[in-house]
C-alpha cells in the first residue's frame, strides 16, 4: 500500500483482503500485528469518511448562491 490516503472503496477492498488473509491463518506474529494495525487504521479512516459526509443543508435560489459566491 502506498502513502496516498486510500479512497473509501480502496479502503474497503484492502480491508476485505486483510481479513481474508488473517482468516486463512498461518501468519507469523509480526505479520499478524502488522495486518491488524493496518486493518484498524482503515476502519478508522472509513468511519471518519462517513462522518464527514454529514453537514449543512443549503437550499438557495440561483441569485442567492451567486451573490454568496461573489462575496467569497
Amino acid at each position: 500500500m502506498n502513502d496516498k490516503v486510500p479512497t473509501y472503496t480502496e479502503a474497503m477492498q484492502r480491508l476485505e483482503a486483510i481479513v481474508t488473509t488473517l482468516e486463512r491463518g498461518g501468519m507469523g506474529l509480526d505479520e499478524t500485528l502488522k495486518l491488524y494495525e493496518e486493518g484498524a487504521d482503515l476502519l478508522r479512516l472509513c468511519k471518519t469518511e462517513l462522518s464527514t459526509a454529514e453537514g449543512r443543508l443549503n437550499e438557495l435560489q440561483l441569485d442567492e448562491i451567486e451573490s454568496e459566491l461573489q462575496e467569497d
Binding site: V19, L29, E49, D72
Partner: protein
Amino acid sequence: MTGSGSVTTGPLPIGQFVQLVKQTVVRDPLFKNQALRGEVTQWKQYPSGHTYFSLRDRDGQMKAVIWKGRCAIDPNIKEGSEVVVLASIDLYVRRGDIQLNVERIEPVSILGELEKTKRKLIEQLTKEGEIDRQRLPLPAIPKHIAIITGAGSAALSDMQRLIENRWPGLRRTVIGVLVQGPQATEQIVRGLAAARKLSDPVRAKQRGEPPVDLVIVGRGGGSPEDLWAFNLEPVARAIIASPVAVVSAVGHESDVLVSDLVADLRASTPSDAIERVVPVLPELYYLLDEYQDRLGNASRRQINDNMQRLRTLHARLRVAPMEGLNRAKAEIFSLSSRIKVSANQNISAQATRLAQFEASLSAIHPQRVLERGYSMTQTADGSVLSSIDGVEIGQSIILNFADGSADAEIKNTHQNEGEK
C-alpha cells in the same frame, strides 16, 4: 351541501351544482398542466387581448382560452394549425362550459425544428468525441452534493425525502433554478457554474465545507417542450465542462435527452438519481462493524496459534539433545552448543516475548504497551531495535511513545552483563 355523500332534501339549484362540478374537476391533478396536442379551429383574438379557440382531433374537441398576456403566441398559429398546448381544465359556471385554460402554446412545426437542432447537436458532440468520452467516477461516499432543480418542485421534495431516508443529514446544496420556459437554459447553465465554484477545493476551504463532489441536475417529467432546455447546447457544454461527476436526472421515459448523453450518469428520474448515488448509511456501518469483528477474531486466533506453536517447539528442543546423545555424541555436542547459542538466545527470547504477549493478550495492540511508559525504538529505515547488537554510536533512531515519537542519536552503548 358540502362534500360528497351528503343528503339533500330538495332539488339542488343548478348553479350550485355546476359550482360543485367545477370544484371536483379543477382539483383533479390529471387535468392540471397537461400537455395536449390537436388542431386549432375557430381561432379568434379579441381586442381585449384574450384569445379563444377550440382544440380538436378526429376523436374529440374542447374549447380553449388564452388569457391576455398569459404566454407568447406564435404569429404563425392560425385556423388549422397543429399545436401543442400546456393547459388546465376550467369550468365556466355561467354557461356550464368546460374549457382549457392555456398556459403555453407552440405550433408543432416548431417542435420539428427543435428535433432537427437536437439531432444536429448530438451529431456534433459525437464528432467531437464528447458522447464517448471517459466518464468521471461517482464518489462512493458523496461528501457534498449540489442539486440543481426547480425550487419548491415536487422533484426536489422527492429527492430530499429520499436522501433523508437513506442518509439523514447528508451534506447538500440545492440551487433553485427555473427548469422550463425561456430562462431555463440560462439558469441551468448558471446553476452548473455555481456548482463548479462550490467544487473548487480552495473556495470550499474558505467556506468551511468539503468541496462539491457530485452534481445532480434535473426536474420531474413534462411535455417535450418543458424538458427542452436539457436538449440544448449550453446545458450540454456546461455538463461536459464540469470538473466533478454530473448526474442527469430528468423525469421522462421514452426520448433520450442530450443531457442524458453527455452526463456521467443518466438517471431515469430525480428519485432514481438519489437511489443510485446516495448509499444507505446504516448498511455501510453494518459492513464496517462486521469487518471490525472479523479482524479482531482472526488476529486473536493467529496470536494464539503462534504461541501454541512456539510452546511446542520449545518443549521439543529441550528434550532433543537427550534423545540424540546415544546415537552421536559428537554431533549432539555440536548441536547442543548450537542450541545453547541459538535456542537460548533466540527461542527463549521469542518465548519470553510470547509470554509477554500472553500476559497482555487482552491488550494486543502495541499502543497499550507504549501507554504504560515503554517506548519502541526504530532505526531510520523503520525496523524495530530490540538489541544493543549492531547499534552504533552516532546512529539515528526514532523513539516511539504512546502519543508521539522523537528522533534521537546514539551517544554511547552498554552491553548488559551476562548477555554475550
